[in-house]
Each structure stands twice: as C-alpha cells, then as structure tokens.
Amino acid sequence: MVDEQAPTHHQAEADDRALFGFWIYLMTDLLMFSVLFAVYAVLHGNTDGGKTGKDLFSLNLALTETLILLTSSFTCGIGMIAARAGRKNQVLTWFGLTFILGLIFLGLELNEFSNLIREGHTIQSNAFLSSFFTLVGTHGLHITSGLLWMAVTLIYIAKRGLNSNMVRKLAMLSLFWHFLDIVWIFIFTIVYLRAFA
C-alpha cells in the first residue's frame, strides 16, 4: 500500500488527487445523464400520433455504433497501458485509432440525426423526439468535446513528447472515454433495443 519510491511519491499523490477530482466531475455528469434518461423513459410514448421509435430507428445502425464505441474504449485502454509504460509511438497509434473510431461514431450519429430531420422528425415534433434528441445529442456533444480534447493532447504529445503530466492528462481522457461508452450502453439499451422489444 505504501509507495516506497520517494521521488515519485509526491507526483503519485498529486495524480491521485487530480484523478479523484475528475472522478467527481464524471459522477455529476452521470447524474445529469440519469435525469435525461428519466425524461426519456417518461416521455418516450408521447409521440402525439406520430411515428414511434420502432418506425424511426435502425437497430443495425445502433448495433454498429455500439460496437465501434466499444472497440474505441478498448483501444483507448491499450493506449493507456502504453502511456504508463512511456511508449510514445504506441500511445499515438492506439489513441489515434480511438480518435478515428470516435470520429466514425460521431459521423454515423450525425447522419442518423440529419436523416430524421430531413424526413420531418425534428426536436420540435413531439415530446418523444424532444427527449430523444436531447439525450442522444448530449452524449454526442460529449463525444465531440472528447475528440477535440484527444486531438489537442495527441498533437501536444507528438510535438513535445510524453511526460508524467501528459500521462495524467491521458488517464483523465481515458476515464472520460470509458465513461461515455458506459452511458452509450444505456442509450443502446433503453432507446434503441427497447423500441424494438
């Protein structure tokens, strides 16, 4: 339990504190998502005579998105192991892969949204679609900010190399990314799978 490495001891403690602070942020973010889930659960039947999720969603698309995000969560974890081992090139490869997968996920989601909107199913159509766009859109915004954060971090590492500060930042980024994957599992289950149950 007690870290004997005197020079790294302080650094490790500071890292733990920073990560704990970030963890608290994630938990409050999770609370916000839970409220959006509660809203969706209450309103998903209020279609105002319009189409239900079963007619609007594609289960195959949702599964594809889920598998892509899950894989990106995995590559992110492998990238984190490389970061802790101090392997810069591997970090760039694995996190780069995570970034590309995240980008594909975001593209699929935006495509789904624009298709819905083009067919006249907008956030203003009914309570069901309002809660759907808010819940899934909020997750999409998180993915977008995660991707921006990842891009900035990777450029920094590529230019200035990997140091313990950057490893801590990557640790927070990977926590964030895993967290978004967990939130998506519930979107997949409660929004998409449930619509076809």
Binding site: V42, T66, G86, I190, A197
Partner: protein, 230 residues
C-alpha cells in the same frame, strides 16, 4: 523502446489494469451487447419480459466495464471514488425510479378516455355523478377461447355488450394476445396486450361494441375474432 523513463523501477501495478483485463472486458462487453440484440431481433419473450432482460444485460455490462475498464476499487488506499460512485448510483436510483413511479401514477390517474374507461371497468365504476363512464353495470355471459396446439377454439365468438371473454392458454408456451390483425396492435377496451402464461387464463370485459380481431404477437398464426353486439 522507452522514449523516457517514468517510474522505471516501479513494477507495473495492477491498479491500472493489464492488457489481459482490457481484453477480458472487451470480450465480455461484446457478448453482453450481442445477446440482448439477438433476443430483441428474434423477439424471444413477451415485451415486458424482454425489457426487463435487456435492462439487466445493460446493467451487467456497466458493471463489467466499471471493473475492467475503469478499474474501480483498485485505486489507492481509502476508496473515496468507490464511495462516490455508489452514492451516485443511489441518487440515480432515486431520481430515475422516483420519476418513473410518480409519472406512472400520474398517468394512471389522468388518462385518455379509453384508458379511464378501462380503469372504471377494473374498479366497477359505471357512473360518476350520474354520468356514465362506459363501464358495465352488470356483467352478463362469459365466453371462453381456448388456445391449444397452436390454434384457438372457437375461431369466432359472438357476444353481447357487457359479456366477458376469457382466454385460456393450454399450450406449453407463453401467449401474448394483441388486438387487431397482425402486425397491427390496436387497443381493445384500453388493453393493448394481454399476456397469458402457460396453463393460465385472462378475462376481459367486452364494453366496446363492434367486430374485433386478435392474434398472438409471438405466433401470428394463432388468431381469431369476436363480434360484440349492442
């Protein structure tokens, strides 16, 4: 291979996870994604059982990822983050569960005409301050439809308003009666779906006149109709 040394003399700690733990988490997550997907695509159970099942799989997958990807509980000494995590989960249960409970109750008490008619029927309120609710004052004859060997007998039922209709399931499987021709699901007297477990029966009150079809949602070849005369 090291571009620079971080804690070189520190042995790789378990608290951050190993490749093996990430692979295990990834494979388990894949399985826990594909099973509910398969169940939904093939519509294995009745709707309510399916929803319970897929939500259970979602929660299981969350636990898998919290353990294998977030490594919760393997951090440094006092597990403040674990405490915080469970406090958050508790709050979520209160917020989500409470909202759904309250809104469900609200829905039960402030409902569209057809559903309030069903409610009036259930609670045997045929009039409120002299206004008829549409519920039957007195139940008349009882008609029986038996589901056995993948068929319903009789195929056609003739009934009067305020008769009752009982579905008896003698097959060795669950039966999900939906009203309307397959694949449409209409409501009859506020009922959208009637789940009849094997060996059990369910009765509805025929308080809506007209000609109605019904079918088994899990096996649409099981179908019949009933006529309710005024």
């Amino acid at each position: 291979m090291n571009d620079f040394p971080i804690n070189e003399n520190k042995k790789p700690s378990k608290e951050h996870g190993t490749i093996a733990s990430y692979v295990a988490g990834f494979v388990l997550s894949l399985i826990y994604t594909l099973i509910p997907y398969y169940l939904v695509v093939n519509h294995q159970f009745s709707t309510s059982a399916l929803i319970t099942t897929i939500i259970s799989f979602g929660i299981a997958q969350m636990i898998i990822q919290v353990v294998f990807f977030l490594h919760l509980g393997r951090g440094p000494k006092p597990f403040y983050n674990v405490v915080f995590f469970f406090a958050t989960v508790g709050l979520i249960v209160v917020v989500v569960g409470g909202s759904m409970f309250i809104m469900d109750n609200l829905h039960y008490n402030m409902t569209p005409a057809e559903a309030s008619k069903q409610l009036a029927e259930k609670e045997a309120i045929y009039q409120v301050e002299g206004k008829l609710t549409g519920a039957c004052q007195k139940l008349l004859a009882n008609h029986v439809v038996t589901i056995s060997g993948g068929k319903v007998t009789p195929l056609h039922t003739n009934a009067q308003l305020c008769d009752t209709l009982t579905f008896i399931n003698q097959d060795n499987r669950i039966s999900d009666i939906a009203f309307g021709p397959h694949p449409r699901h209409d409501a009859y007297a506020g009922e959208t779906e009637l789940t009849v477990k094997k060996g059990k029966n369910k009765t509805i009150t025929l308080n809506q006149a007209g000609i109605y079809q019904y079918h088994d949602h899990l096996d649409p070849t099981i179908a019949g109709d009933f006529i309710v005369a005024k």
